[in-house]
């Protein structure tokens, strides 16, 4: 096929390694990685290559698009896409984009792609529908714009039973709704079927082609690729090495140690157990005009060392004070108390530490802390008030 004439088909899976981007717990792939996957599954994409430094740039052969590789919707409107009709425009485009910042995101790679002769733009995606607990197909004959801005009556939606999977009848429904002729329709059905395979086999949360371009000579080609994978599936995708340029060094360190940790811009360090209780602690601090420095969930462990390590992480964020809020269950309150005492000694902490402990083994916990000069609270709200007050007193 003419498309693939100048494209590198050296195992796309290898190209993808080490450059995945984690956003929270999903893996949000750059366009060029998404297209590598599409190629591997036989979804037509334009010929393209990645440029990281100017010497990667090849000689101009035909009209091209220079696309900055950043995770941002509306790249074109933000100046992240340039068109090149000759060698000079190609060089200028690359020079202008590479190393620049677009809406705060650094462009370290650009994709040079054959310009398509566009007749029409369509939209197609498969995503997780949380409330239906199912894959969900969305397709429209109005593509190239955000799907949210397309009128409802022009959008085809279809829930898929994950046990039945995709079958051709779904494609026929979509093609009829979109009013595609038989030539485009058969191409569309083939793309949709392959897209479903990608969604399923690569454990995706979202696969989106917007726009799906109909060229002047009647071919359907994926002009963009958005792929988000589920990080909980990584045991099935072991060749993927996860690196996240958007995470702070401390968040990466916490992640490698197995903590759910988010850095925030306040000054009160937070250690709690359970995601819900940790969030509730941050909410209560915020409502009391306190500013959390971080979200740290100890998780369901029962180990003194883990508490000490959590303190080490939070101390690295240099908060003015530390609030510990524990509801003992699997994590016993006395284990946490011992951890607090050990951390205080190990790191010689002089900052205010305010502790609230309830639940399993709370009496033992209270004794341990009292012996070591910490007066714990048994209810959450007095502890919140206390830590906000004491933090406010610090210069």
């Amino acid at each position: 096929m003419a498309f693939y004439s100048c494209c590198l088909i050296i195992s796309p899976k290898i190209l993808v390694i080490s450059s995945y981007l984690v956003n929270g717990d999903t893996l949000n792939l750059y366009e060029y990685m998404g297209k590598d996957i599409f190629r591997r599954y036989g979804i037509p994409v334009p010929d393209s290559y990645v440029v990281e430094k100017e010497s990667d740039l090849r000689k101009f052969e035909r009209p091209s698009v220079v696309k900055s590789q950043i995770l941002l919707g509306g790249r074109g409107k933000s100046g992240g896409i340039k068109f090149a009709k000759n060698q000079k425009e190609l060089e200028d485009g690359v020079r202008e984009l590479l190393g620049s910042k677009i809406r705060g995101l650094s462009v370290t790679k650009v994709l040079i792609e054959d310009m398509l002769n566009i007749k029409h733009e369509y939209y197609v995606s498969i995503s997780l529908n949380r409330s239906e607990r199912s894959p969900f197909i969305i397709a429209s004959s109005s593509g190239g714009v955000e799907i949210e801005s397309v009128p409802k009556e022009k959008i085809f939606t279809r829930k898929i039973d994950p046990l039945l999977g995709y079958s051709d009848y779904v494609g026929r429904e979509a093609v009829k709704f979109m009013g595609l002729d038989s030539k485009l329709g058969s191409q569309f059905k083939a793309i949709l079927s392959k897209l479903y395979t990608v969604f399923n086999e690569e454990d995706c949360e979202l696969v989106e082609i917007n726009p799906l371009v109909e060229t002047a000579d009647g071919r359907l080609i994926a002009a963009d690729a958005k792929v988000i994978m589920d990080s909980d599936s990584m045991f099935r995708h072991k060749d993927i090495n996860v690196v996240d340029p958007e995470k702070t060094p401390l968040e990466l360190e916490a992640q490698s140690k197995g903590y759910a940790f988010v850095e925030l811009d306040g000054d009160i360090g937070v250690i709690a157990n359970g995601a819900g209780l940790t969030m509730a602690t941050m909410d209560a601090l915020t409502l009391h005009k306190g500013k959390p420095r971080n979200f740290l969930d100890l998780g369901g462990t029962d180990s003194v060392d883990i508490v000490v390590e959590a303190f080490e992480l939070v101390l690295k964020a240099n908060p003015k004070s530390i609030l510990v809020n524990i509801f003992g269950g699997v994590t016993k309150a006395d284990t946490v108390a011992n951890g607090i005492v050990a951390a205080k000694e190990k790191f010689n902490i002089t900052k205010p530490i305010v502790v609230r402990l309830s639940g399993v083994h709370e009496d033992e916990a209270r004794e341990i802390l009292k012996r070591n000069g910490i007066e714990p609270f048994s209810m959450m709200m007095p502890a919140i008030e206390q830590v906000v007050k004491r933090t406010g007193e610090i210069e």
Partner: protein, 285 residues
Amino acid sequence: MSVLVNKNTRVIVQGITGHQGAFHAGEMLKFGTKLVGGTSPGKGGTMFQNDVPIFDSVADAMSQNPDATMISVAAPFVRDAAFEAIDQGIKIVYILTEHVPFHDTMEIVHEASHRGITVLGPNGPGITVPGQCKIGIMPNQIFRNGDVAVASRSGTLTYEIVYSITHAGFGESVVIGLGGDPVVGLTFVDVLKMFEKDEATKKIVLVGEIGGNNEERAAEYIKAHVSKKVVAYITGRSAPPGKRMGHAGAIIEKGVGTAESKIKAFESAGVPVAEYPVNVPDLLK
């Protein structure tokens, strides 16, 4: 009558010899749960705490006529364990495990629903009917028999709120943890239907969090179908958008799933929303 489980519910634990499985099986026994067996491939024929028989497979454990199972195996093995239980027709499948790929959960939940099987979790604390049956990891000592039904997407935050409810002099008819993942077996609407029917339940507490639209759907349902008093608490008001707050399901995406939207939906359905967890019992008065 109680919700989903009662004092006669016969329970097995899949993965009963693992660290978590063994600990929680022991706690369930102390609670008074009718724990009738466990599974651990290769350890069939041995006993748990000299009292509970261990089997190699769920097929073998069916000799104990279990009504419910708790799955406590590592995430990559959850799909297999759940299918094993579903294939044997166990009516309640509770998955404790965290970090199960949601593609696996989708399949589990769909197969279960086709067969009339209830899935609890993944990544939730389970279910407790005080004085009768506990399946899961909630601390034994926070409950008191009463008429308040609690459903939550969290673990420890549920304990915090149940503790406040008990401490304020109320008691619980049932406490259900839905799970913190984007795909879980039960929604708030599913449990509201059960709570509305349950004679032991007079009041309902929903503990929601950011992410998805489970709470908004519940609010719509309450308006049309729930006659009992409902109060709520929503966590994640201070969470930044785009970041997952511990739970895989707790994330604000494209403006969807904010705490404001959920609070507004509940309030417009006449459901008061507590500012702090400790205020929940005040709203029940």
